[in-house]
């Protein structure tokens, strides 16, 4: 593993950047199953993790991959798994377990063309809603979406930080283009990367209640095998982790699970905006589509058209505050995505008639090109 102290310029595939980010964040456990277009992440992990003193294991399927990942995290290691659509569907039951038992873990989903086996080597963004609602039961979830190799590095680091901070599963929702594109990336010196670790208990084991709210909504987390003997279950549980059906206890647990994240909505507005000076039209995009969108917006500005871009780097929880600002300042917004309108539904939900929401959708496994976005912009201005 690199221990560089100055910024480093390297040519990296998105998948490599993801692995570098995971290692920089302190990931020391990976369990997964091969699937295009996420296989590179697993293969790199199999080589690099043992060198870093970490654990790599190829499991028998994706259910086992995320199960072992959760186990690794309960054993005190920062842990992750990576997959694509079909494997992501298999993982849903355990994402729900991780949410309920509050086990930090990172799940990378490199979206490919779907439904079903679909177009394994082609990009789509069909899992935006699956990432939010795919796992059973009502619970919050954190989902980030990189649009470049650098962001794949950066958001993987941040995904680990979020997982550790909130004791929650965190999904890195990438797409085939972002994972497979090779580009020049400037990686920050390791010492400059902000790393968060889960809060551990400081009380003696006899006093430890694994799910007692210390006031922050996030209970300190002991690892199994370090002298704190406690119980973890996917059943609704009391502050000691024991199953309960008492309404006061179930209500308290469920509200804490939601509130621990919603109290920080203001900190979870992760986006970049471009050319929003006087923008009458704002293109909203995420993932690789945001790259085409930036090019389209530059082309439009060259033609003197008043167009800006809002690139979302966090998809869930949905950045209502940020998006509302753009809905208020723009005459029209165009949501461009490689699905039939998943994120645009959210934009429309928070819009409440403030402006006109247009959509640009593509589901043939081809990327959305800058000229297609430019054409949509010109149509909207006409």
């Amino acid at each position: 593993m690199s221990t560089q102290t100055t910024p480093e310029r390297v040519l990296l595939q998105g998948s490599e950047a993801c692995v570098r980010g995971a290692l920089a964040a302190g990931c020391r456990f990976y369990a997964g199953y091969p699937i295009t277009p996420a296989t590179e992440i697993m293969e790199l992990m199999s080589r690099m993790l043992p060198q870093a003193g970490g654990v790599f294991i190829q499991m028998e399927d994706e259910i086992a991959g995320i199960g072992a990942t959760i186990g690794g995290s309960l054993g005190g290691l920062k842990a992750m798994t990576a997959t694509s659509g079909p494997g992501f569907s298999l993982m849903q039951e355990h994402i729900s377990f991780a949410a309920m038992a509050e086990v930090p873990c990172v799940i990378v989903n490199v979206m490919r063309g779907g439904p079903s086996t679909g177009l394994p080597t082609r990009p789509m963004q069909g899992d935006v809603m699956q990432a939010r609602w795919g796992a059973h039961g009502d619970h919050p979830i954190l989902v980030v979406a990189p649009s470049s190799a650098y962001e794949f590095f950066d958001l993987t680091v941040k995904a680990f930080n979020l997982a550790e901070r909130y004791r929650s599963p965190v999904i890195v929702l990438a797409d085939e283009i972002v994972a497979h594109t090779r580009e020049s990336v400037v990686l920050p010196p390791l010492a400059e990367i902000e790393i968060e670790d889960r809060v551990k208990p400081t009380v003696p084991p006899e006093w430890y209640s694994p799910y007692r709210d210390p006031g922050t909504g996030i209970p300190p987390m002991a690892a199994f095998g370090e002298g704190y003997r406690f119980h973890v279950t996917g059943l609704m549980h009391d502050i000691n982790g024991f199953p309960t059906q008492r309404q006061d206890e179930t209500q308290e647990l469920m509200m804490r699970l939601f509130n621990k994240i919603s109290k920080d909505f203001h900190l979870l507005q992760w986006y970049d905006s471009y050319y929003d000076e006087g923008a009458e039209i704002t293109v909203i995009a995420y993932g690789s589509v945001a790259r085409s969108a930036l090019r389209a917006v530059k082309m439009a500005r060259d033609k003197g058209l008043p167009v800006g871009l809002l690139k979302l780097k966090m998809l869930w929880p949905f950045m209502r505050r940020t998006v509302m600002q753009y809905l208020e300042s723009s005459r029209k917004v165009i949501v461009a995505e490689m699905n039939m309108g998943q994120l645009s539904r959210e934009v429309k939900r928070v819009n409440q008639g403030k402006c006109e929401v247009l959509t640009l959708n593509k589901i043939d496994g081809q990327m959305i090109t800058p000229s297609e976005i430019l054409a949509k912009v010109e149509e909207a201005l006409a």
Binding site: G53, E60, A64, G225, F230, F242
Partner: protein
């Protein structure tokens, strides 16, 4: 055998709200006693025992015991246990699963854990039925038996779980009944000492469903049935298939050695550093 009542209180979680979930006469409680005795006999510290379970009546076992305990999802206990074992290799990891848990929904994890030779002791509570969900047929339900999900008689043939894990590569495989408690204590103790993937298949009566559906009668009748029908592996080798009909073959089926996954992983660590 040590005095179980005194012993068990040293290992029960006093803070856990009893009563437990099991029906009177259920075999799972006897297994709990045997497991505690074997752990005590082995001299393990409570801090070093990691007890993991799946979902089902048997899945409720860990919560009552004062160890590191984890109650996972239906069929997937071994996957979580694998992660914990690799993250904390010093832990003695024990997985408790039901027959449906282990060999239906979790069948893939069972055979691959055996093949991989991950250092975990797996206890499979085989009551030949889905207990928790109300008596549906499981992969070990006898051919022809009418159950809640096979009202016209079960159309499928049962797995022999011990043979299944033997074929998959488990280094230690034993079967016992809960009636034969001394043998049960002994084989669990042997399994715990074994390095690698060890399996104990425990025949445990589900009085509420299997007992009712087979007309076997009271818990005592079911125990008597176990007593009368258990045949040691050695003897079974000389018996014909007909003679073995409806018998429970017990004892140690496999006891071999091979490198464990985490030993091999540790070797890679040393080589690539």
């Amino acid at each position: 055998m040590k005095q179980t009542p005194q012993l068990i209180h040293r290992y029960l979680r006093s803070s856990k709200r009893f009563p437990h979930v099991w029906c009177p006469g259920c075999g799972i409680g006897i297994l709990l006693g045997a497991l505690v005795r074997a752990i005590d006999e082995g001299g393990y510290s409570k801090d070093d025992i990691m007890l993991v379970s799946g979902i089902g009546c048997s899945g409720r076992l860990p919560v009552y015991l004062d160890f590191n305990t984890l109650h996972t999802t239906h069929g997937r206990a071994l996957t979580f246990a694998t992660g914990i074992k690799l993250a904390k290799p010093h832990l003695k990891v024990i997985v408790v699963m039901g027959d449906g848990d282990a060999s239906s929904i979790g069948g893939n994890h069972l055979i691959h854990s055996a093949r991989r030779n991950i250092d975990i002791t797996t206890i499979i509570v085989n009551n030949q039925i889905y207990g928790m969900t109300g008596g549906q047929a499981s992969p070990t339900t006898p051919f022809g038996l009418a159950t809640a999900s096979s009202p016209y008689g079960h159309l499928e043939h049962p797995f022999d779980i011990s043979k299944l894990v033997e074929a998959a590569g488990a280094v230690f495989v034993a079967r016992s009944t809960v009636y034969h408690t001394k043998a049960l204590d002994r084989v669990i103790g042997q399994a715990l000492k074994k390095k690698g993937f060890s399996v104990v298949e425990v025949m445990a009566p589900c009085v509420t469903h299997f007992g009712k559906m087979t007309g076997m009668g009271s818990p005592v009748d079911m125990m008597r049935w176990q007593k009368d029908n258990a045949v040691p592996f050695e003897k079974a080798r000389e018996m014909s298939a007909e003679e073995l009909q409806n018998k429970i073959v017990t004892g140690v089926l496999v006891d071999i050695g091979k490198p464990t996954f985490h030993e091999e992983h540790a070797r890679i660590w040393r080589e690539v550093k």
